[in-house]
């Protein structure tokens, strides 16, 4: 339901515009079927990620083919493995180099919370550096878990509103 503040806007009387919602549906349909991953494997989770990309599990079924090693071309950052303090600025930079819209999967216990490496040298969870969309527990998680995370990302893309995302960004800049 619309809240009080939105009542003054014209869409409160006419309902959401047909043109924009259809365009959003169309964009989401395309984005949902073409999430190019950026593999960022730093530890054993990377091996499981490779298994998920290979023949047995085949992430390419969902369009997640063509692993883009250039962050400019990727949509989903799959962070698989331990992030040390040395690696922290690099991961942050890679994330910032990715083009909007972008999503992040934090794969494995080390990426989610630092895992067993409760030391001075390890980042205690990558969500202290970059925003994360889906966490996968496990040490390392099986490829099925990565596939489920990808499907969760796809569902999240389906509920996205590209127009409002753009608009709020515009207002934030003004």
């Amino acid at each position: 339901m619309e809240n009080e503040n939105n009542n003054k806007k014209i869409e409160a009387y006419t309902g959401p515009g047909w043109v924009l919602t259809t365009l959003e549906m169309f964009m989401n349909w395309g984005r949902q079927r073409s999430p190019w991953p950026l593999p960022y494997g730093t530890a054993c989770c990377g091996i499981e990620m490779m298994a998920a990309l290979a023949a047995g599990y085949d992430m390419a079924r969902f369009g997640a083919e063509r692993p883009s090693f250039s962050p400019r071309q990727a949509d989903v950052l799959i962070e698989a493995g331990t992030i040390t303090k040395k690696m922290e600025p690099i991961l942050k930079r890679i994330y910032e180099q990715m083009a909007e819209p972008k999503w992040v999967i934090s794969m494995g216990a080390c990426a989610c919370s630092g895992g067993v490496f409760r030391t001075y040298s390890t980042v205690q969870g990558i969500d202290t550096i970059i925003p994360v969309d889906v966490y996968i527990p496990g040490c390392p998680p099986r490829p099925e878990a990565l596939l489920q995370a990808l499907i969760m990302i796809l569902n999240k893309i389906g509920k996205d509103h590209p127009y409002y995302r753009f608009k709020s960004e515009l207002e934030g800049n003004l």
């Binding site: 395309g30 369009g63 949509d75």
Partner: protein
């Protein structure tokens, strides 16, 4: 006026044909890779994932358009355009069928029947390198410039055997006109073989195919975008639809090269041993359509060959590529040219 309308229809038709083939090729490549690697491949968008190129297009069009701060803005934006234009333009002189005669008016199934078609093709082939090197230079990125330089060296090296191999065919048929080359391939050669370029020039054909894979920057010659060495090569900094144009231009290049292979070496629209024009009637509409379909069938085989080779052969090392180009292909191409000239001379003196 009527000529102008016919020309316009042909231009728009071929334009959409190449675009459509390139779009379908991205799907064929991904499903073909899946077939060879024993996995299902993309199958979520439409039936058998046939709408995958559409999804990729929508996603690339709606992605953020990043121009790096330190990049040369003009060259960065010019790169994909310079890459796509030669790829599309080369199709203008390739005959995609015989002719249709309507009301005494002859319509050639070819956009432009120029006498220097061969030179035009070779010139545009070397022009394609500018898109790559400008994109690599304009990005102001280490990996991009390395990819661009590699591509330049590779294309210049393989342009030579490519052109020399084609020159053999030109010597055999005695014309630069692509339509006349296609017409000359009717009938039989030595009584048993079809009169195709591949039987006149078997060595030339192999050289041409090897050089064509290098021209298209395809595996095993995809040095300019070697992922394990230089991230994505010349298009490392490109995102959104500019990347899409680069990827798309590659498939347009492949289509053009396949069409060239068919025109020069596989008898264009001719079927072996059958003279279609005699029993379908020269110049009828059904003959025009049939010749176009035969041409498409042959082209699609070579398109599939590109995919097949890509997922079968590993990548060359850089020095191996150069060694193969300069030490093997160019001497062989010169040898092929020499032998061809010799045979033509002998035939000339014997036959009078």
């Amino acid at each position: 006026m009527i000529d102008l309308i016919i020309a316009l229809i042909k231009v728009v038709g071929i334009w959409s044909f190449t675009l459509g083939v390139a779009a379908v090729m991205t799907w064929v490549e991904r499903r073909g890779a899946a077939l060879i690697q024993d996995r299902p491949g993309p199958n979520r968008a439409g039936l058998f994932g046939i709408l995958q190129p559409v999804c990729d297009g929508i996603k690339l069009f709606t992605k953020e358009n990043i121009v790096p701060e330190k990049a040369d803005k003009v060259l960065f934006n010019l790169g994909p355009i310079m890459f796509a234009i030669p790829a599309f333009s080369a199709f203008a002189v390739i005959p995609f069928g015989d002719r249709i005669i309507i009301g005494g008016k002859e319509i050639l199934l070819q956009i432009s029947n120029i006498d220097i078609g061969f030179l035009y093709i070779v010139a545009l082939g070397s022009l394609a390198v500018y898109g790559v090197i400008i994109g690599g230079w304009g990005s102001n990125n280490k990996y991009s410039i390395l990819g661009g330089l590699r591509s330049t060296a590779q294309l210049i090296s393989y342009e030579v055997p490519w052109g020399l191999a084609l020159l053999g065919v030109v010597l055999v048929y005695g014309t630069f006109n692509l339509r006349e080359i296609a017409l000359a391939q009717q009938g039989t050669f030595l009584g048993i073989l079809p009169n195709w370029g591949v039987f006149h020039q078997p060595l030339g054909f192999i050289l041409f195919m090897v050089a064509a894979y290098a021209e298209a920057n395809r595996v095993p010659f995809d040095l300019p975008e070697a992922e394990s060495e230089i991230v994505s090569g010349y298009h490392t900094e490109y995102g959104s639809m500019k990347l899409g144009v680069y990827l798309f231009g590659e498939y347009v290049n492949i289509t053009t090269l396949s069409a060239l292979t068919v025109t020069f070496y596989f008898g264009s629209w001719h079927l072996p041993y059958i003279n279609m024009a005699s029993f379908l009637g020269d110049g009828t509409i059904i003959y025009g359509i049939a010749s176009f379909l035969i041409f498409c069938l042959k082209v699609s085989f070579f398109l599939w060959l590109f995919v097949w080779v890509r997922w079968t052969v590993p990548r060359f090392r850089y020095d191996q590529v150069m060694k193969l180009g300069w030490k093997s292909l160019i001497p062989l191409a010169l040898f092929n040219l020499f032998i061809t000239t010799l045979f033509i001379q002998i035939k000339y003196y014997i036959g009078g």
